[in-house]
C-alpha cells in the first residue's frame, strides 16, 4: 500500500500530512500516559510494534499473480486503538522509506493515514462491535486484523483516486481501478494476517490474560450474585 516517493502531487501530500499529524501527536501523548500509569504495558506496546515490523516486511505472493504485504496493525488496534497504532506505524514507515526506498518521505503522511490511522480505526470499530455482540476474543481479533488490512488498501486506493481521477468516470472509476489492483490481491493476505495475530493473542491470553483485562481487551467475568 506504500505510495512511492513523489507519486502524490504536493497538495495531496500536504493534505494527508495535515490529517495524520494531529493523530500521531495524540498517539504520543496516549503512549506517555499509558506507560506512565502502568509499566507492564511496555512489552505489549513492543509486541504491537513488532507485529507491524515483522508482517510488513514480508512480500507475499497472492492469487492475482502480484505480491503484497500484510500490515500487522490489527494487534495495535485491538490493544491500544488507532492513535497509538499510528505512532508505531510511523516508525516502521520511516524505516522503510529511509532504508528500503519503500514508500517515501513526501508520501509519509498519506501512508501513515492509510496504514496507521484509517486501517486500525476500521479494525478497532469492528473489534468494538464484536465485543458488544459478545463474539469470542480470538474471533474478534481475527476480524479486526483482517479488516484493518483491507481498509488500509481501500484507503490507499481512495488517496490515489482523489489525486488521479480518471478522464472518464472521475474519482469513482479511478478508485475501482486502484481497488482492483490492491484489494483483490490483499484478501487472502488479510485472512492469513488475521489468523496469525489471533493465534498469538490466544497465547498472550493464556500467559497474561490479567493485563489484557486491564486494557479491557478481555471481558472481566463478573461472578454471578
Amino acid at each position: 500500500m506504500h505510495i512511492m516517493e513523489g507519486f502524490l502531487p504536493p497538495f495531496w501530500a500536504a493534505l494527508w500530512f495535515a490529517l495524520a499529524l494531529p493523530v500521531i501527536a495524540y498517539g504520543v501523548v496516549r503512549i506517555r500516559r499509558l506507560v506512565g500509569e502502568d509499566r507492564e504495558l511496555l512489552p505489549l506496546l513492543a509486541v504491537s510494534g513488532a507485529f507491524i515490523f515483522v508482517l510488513s516486511s514480508l512480500k507475499l505472493p497472492s492469487v492475482t499473480g502480484s505480491s503484497s504485504h500484510p500490515t500487522g496493525t490489527g494487534a495495535g488496534a485491538v490493544l491500544f486503538g488507532p492513535a497509538v497504532t499510528s505512532v508505531l506505524a510511523t516508525i516502521v514507515l520511516v524505516y522503510q522509506a529511509l532504508f528500503l526506498a519503500h514508500g517515501g518521505f513526501t508520501t509519509l503522511g498519506a501512508n501513515v493515514f492509510s496504514m496507521g490511522i484509517a486501517g486500525p480505526a476500521a479494525g478497532y470499530a469492528i473489534y468494538r462491535i464484536c465485543m458488544r455482540a459478545r463474539v469470542g476474543c480470538c474471533t474478534a481479533v481475527f476480524a479486526t486484523a483482517a479488516v484493518a488490512d483491507i481498509a488500509t488498501y481501500l484507503t490507499t486506493s481512495t488517496q490515489l483516486a482523489l489525486a488521479f481521477p480518471a478522464t472518464t468516470g472521475g474519482v469513482t472509476a479511478s478508485f475501482l481501478t486502484f481497488a482492483g489492483i490492491f484489494a483483490l490481491t490483499q484478501v487472502p493476505l488479510a485472512i492469513v494476517e488475521g489468523l496469525v495475530i489471533a493465534l498469538v493473542f490466544r497465547y498472550m491470553i493464556a500467559i497474561r490474560g490479567d493485563v489484557l483485562e486491564r486494557l479491557h481487551v478481555l471481558r472481566r467475568e463478573v461472578p454471578a450474585p
Partner: protein
Amino acid sequence: MNRTLGVVIGVVLVLGLATLAMLLADRAATGTDDRAAEKIGDLTGGAYEPWAQAPGVPGGEQNAPLLFGVQAGAGLTVLLGCLWYWREHRSEA
C-alpha cells in the same frame, strides 16, 4: 521448556523468518505498489513525473532483500522477547 532450548528455538525462528523475508523480497512477483505506479502512468497518459526521488537503498538496490530480512528478524526478536518476558513473569502477577 528449559531456557537454553527456548533460546535455540527463538534464534532458529528469527533466522528462518529473516531468510524467508529476504527470499520473498528477492523473488517476489510484481508488487501491487509497482502496478499502482504503472496505473498512474496510464491515467495521466504518462504525463505525471514524480517530484521527489527516494533516498535509495544504502549500498545499492541489491541490499534491499537483506534489509527486509533485518526488519523481519528485528521485529520477531522483539516479539519473542516480550512474550518470553511475560511468560517468565506470569507467576508474579
